[in-house]
């Protein structure tokens, strides 16, 4: 299969959906001539024009409100928030408006829109440009939350998100943009709500999201050499969540490690731990481990940043710790 960059996969998904459906359009800061801060909309202005690839003022509340209003009258907007950190500026529109209008209005509301953004650390962008805030959005009924870890998932899930009739909060990762992966030429829609077992194994289950999937795969390679066999599950969509795939793996391995780039406390991993401690309790052979960012704002210093953000070695250490426990 041909290989393309994660960021190219995003462009392809947008391109194909815009070609397919006139009601799909893009809005966001610097997405037009500039092609987006992370170059995820390059070429689309030329192809679809300024009406459908709209540079906005720096007005995040306005962007999300505009997307919602357009959706309500029948369009399918794809709004870009340049950094997930800036979702804080638009939080009211995302949480109190977008997520709730369908319910508040008794079901009568078109809210088919996608909010694309990117998160994560690794570029010395410091505390206001490197957060991982997915847990906030999973906590909000009315939103779907998607977090692809590969180019293929990024493309297939973005296409599914655009076609979905619910608001989807779609979280890319700044470091993954330049990673290559196999993506089929032919159209592929990856359904929302289906996890993928990225690696099979029998000794323990690792549930990993976004950038931690690749790091976990690398960790698993090393651990394999020590005779430890890890199963790695990428939920891909944090809500709706494919609990069955996760629980089936835990029932098989008896051990669970969860890893994500967000701060541990009240992070999404806690939800998976809680799920397992309830629905796979009898199968657990060891304490549930979490490998997450340390509980601090993200520091600027690359040295401190890589200390704070979990890496392959942290996953390995986590796994080793769990096996010793027994």
């Amino acid at each position: 299969m041909r290989e393309i960059l994660y960021r190219e996969a995003i462009i392809e998904a947008l391109d194909e959906e815009m070609a397919r459906d006139d009601s799909v359009f893009l809005l966001g800061e610097d997405i037009a001539e500039f092609g987006g801060s992370y170059k995820t909309t390059v070429g689309l202005l030329d192809k679809y024009g300024a009406e459908r690839v709209r540079n906005t003022p720096i007005s995040e509340q306005g962007i999300i409100g505009a997307a919602l209003g357009a959706a309500l009258v029948g369009m399918r907007p794809v709004a870009e928030l340049m950094y997930i950190d800036f979702s804080a500026v638009a939080m009211d529109q995302i949480v109190n408006q977008v997520a709730k209008v369908r319910y508040m209005f008794g079901g009568k509301a078109n809210t088919s829109l996608v909010i694309r953004t990117q998160g994560g650390a690794g570029r010395s962008s410091a505390a206001q440009h490197a957060q991982s805030l997915e847990a906030w959005f999973v906590h909000v009924p009315g939103l779907k939350v998607v977090m692809p870890s590969s180019a293929r998932d990024a493309k297939g899930l973005l296409k599914a998100s655009i076609r979905d009739d619910d608001p989807v909060f779609f979280i890319e990762h700044k470091l993954l943009y330049l990673e290559k992966g196999a993506v089929p030429e032919e159209e592929e829609i990856i359904p929302i709500g289906v996890a993928e077992v990225k690696r099979e194994g029998g000794d323990l289950t690792i549930v990993a999201t976004s950038s931690m999937v690749g790091k976990s795969l690398a960790a698993a390679e090393e651990l394999e050499k020590e005779g430890v066999s890890c199963e790695i599950i990428d939920p891909r969509t944090l809500f709706p969540l494919d609990t069955e795939t996760i629980l089936a793996s835990i029932r098989k391995t008896g051990r669970l490690l969860i890893t994500h780039e967000a701060v541990q406390r009240c992070g999404w991993g806690a939800e998976i731990a809680a799920l397992a401690a309830k629905d796979a309790f009898d199968y657990l052979d060891a304490p549930i481990e979490r490998v997450c960012a340390k509980e601090t704002p993200v520091p600027f210093s690359p040295k401190l940043e890589s200390y704070v953000i979990p890496g392959k070695d942290d996953v390995i250490a986590g796994v080793r710790g769990m096996l010793e426990t027994v």
Binding site: E51, A67, G106
Partner: protein, 323 residues
């Protein structure tokens, strides 16, 4: 200028009566303990909703506020679904899930009351963008208060609409108070319409107690928007005759001192007089309107009372279109 025809004038008058009566009855029902939650009454401001919405078709859209009943009635929503909603019944506009602050009907172009002050303004800009992209010649009107004009959402929403010349009209109902806070202590500018200068769009001050003045100003702004010339900010100077919410006496913050002089300008009285002078209405026809409205109102209340509550399972539907 779009002149106020007899038909429109009568529509406006009747709409104001409908709003007034709806509010009076909801207050009574609320005070009798029949309605849950809380209510913000629109009494005193009827000329604004009626004067503006006289120009709108069901394909035109509005966004509204916590004080939204008047806008919804003027936009064509029926009492039955509204009362049923206030009663939290399954037959309400929101199936009992939204209540007073979230009444909406997409089919009638009512994109919702809103419990977040200023929250509807960017949404209105977006709806206008959507209509423009669809190539439809409809407009969006966003209603909001003086207090809302201090929210960031006001600034961002109007700036976007102005920059993109969207078919939107922003109607600020300046009733001189944001909850208990007098306008002069929440902003230093004299006329909120002056804020239009920040966006390079027309800003118009209009007497919000005069339905004709509102009608004319809104007509121009809406025509301007329909022609693709972009948004207008209309400031309608008005007054809520009651407290911030039903139950607020309004005394703590000087509302009682202010309201007196406005009561004399009650649009239901003054406009009836105007129309009588023009011979467009008679005492008799006025009575007939009131009677008809009262009758419809009581029927709607009966409908609401007799309607079933939602089932428990309904709590878990309408969260997503598909899961």
């Amino acid at each position: 200028m779009i002149r106020l025809t007899k038909a429109k004038a009568l529509w406006i008058y009747e709409t104001m009566v409908r709003i007034r009566r709806f509010e009076e009855r909801s207050i009574e029902l609320f005070q009798a303990g029949e309605l849950p939650g809380f209510l913000h009454a629109y009494i005193g401001e009827e000329a604004v909703a009626a004067g503006v919405c006289a120009h709108l078709t069901p394909k035109d859209q509005i966004t509204s506020t916590h004080r939204g009943h008047g806008h919804m009635i003027a936009k064509g929503l029926h009492y039955k679904g509204m009362f049923a909603e206030l009663y939290a019944r399954a037959t309400g506009y929101c199936k009992g899930k939204g209540g007073s602050m979230h009444i909406a009907d997409q089919d009638l172009g009512a994109l919702g009351a809103n419990g977040i002050v200023g929250g509807g303004i960017p949404i209105a800009a977006g709806a206008a963008l959507g209509l423009k992209l669809k190539g439809e010649n409809h407009v969006v009107v966003s209603f909001f208060g003086d207090g809302a004009s201090n929210e960031g959402a006001f600034h961002e929403g109007i700036n976007i609409a102005a920059t993109w010349k969207l078919p939107a009209v922003f109607v600020c109902e300046n009733n001189g108070f944001a909850e208990s806070t007098p306008r002069a202590t929440h902003q230093a500018v004299q006329d909120i319409a002056d804020r239009a200068k920040a966006y390079g769009i027309p800003g118009i001050v209009v007497d919000g107690m005069d339905p004709q003045a509102v009608f004319e100003a809104a007509g121009e702004a809406i025509a301007h928007a329909r022609k693709g010339r972009g948004p207008t900010l209309i400031e309608a100077k008005t007054m809520r005759f009651l407290g911030h919410y039903v139950g607020d006496p309004g005394t703590a913050y000087g509302h009682d001192k202010e309201v007196g002089k406005w009561l004399k300008r009650d649009p239901l009285i003054t406009f009836a007089e105007t129309l009588e002078k023009k011979k467009w209405l008679s005492k008799k026809s006025i009575d007939a309107i009131h009677e008809k409205v009262n009758k419809e109102m009581e029927e709607a209340i009966e409908f609401a009372r007799k309607s079933p509550e939602p089932e428990l399972d309904d709590a878990m539907t309408d969260i997503y279109a598909t899961v």
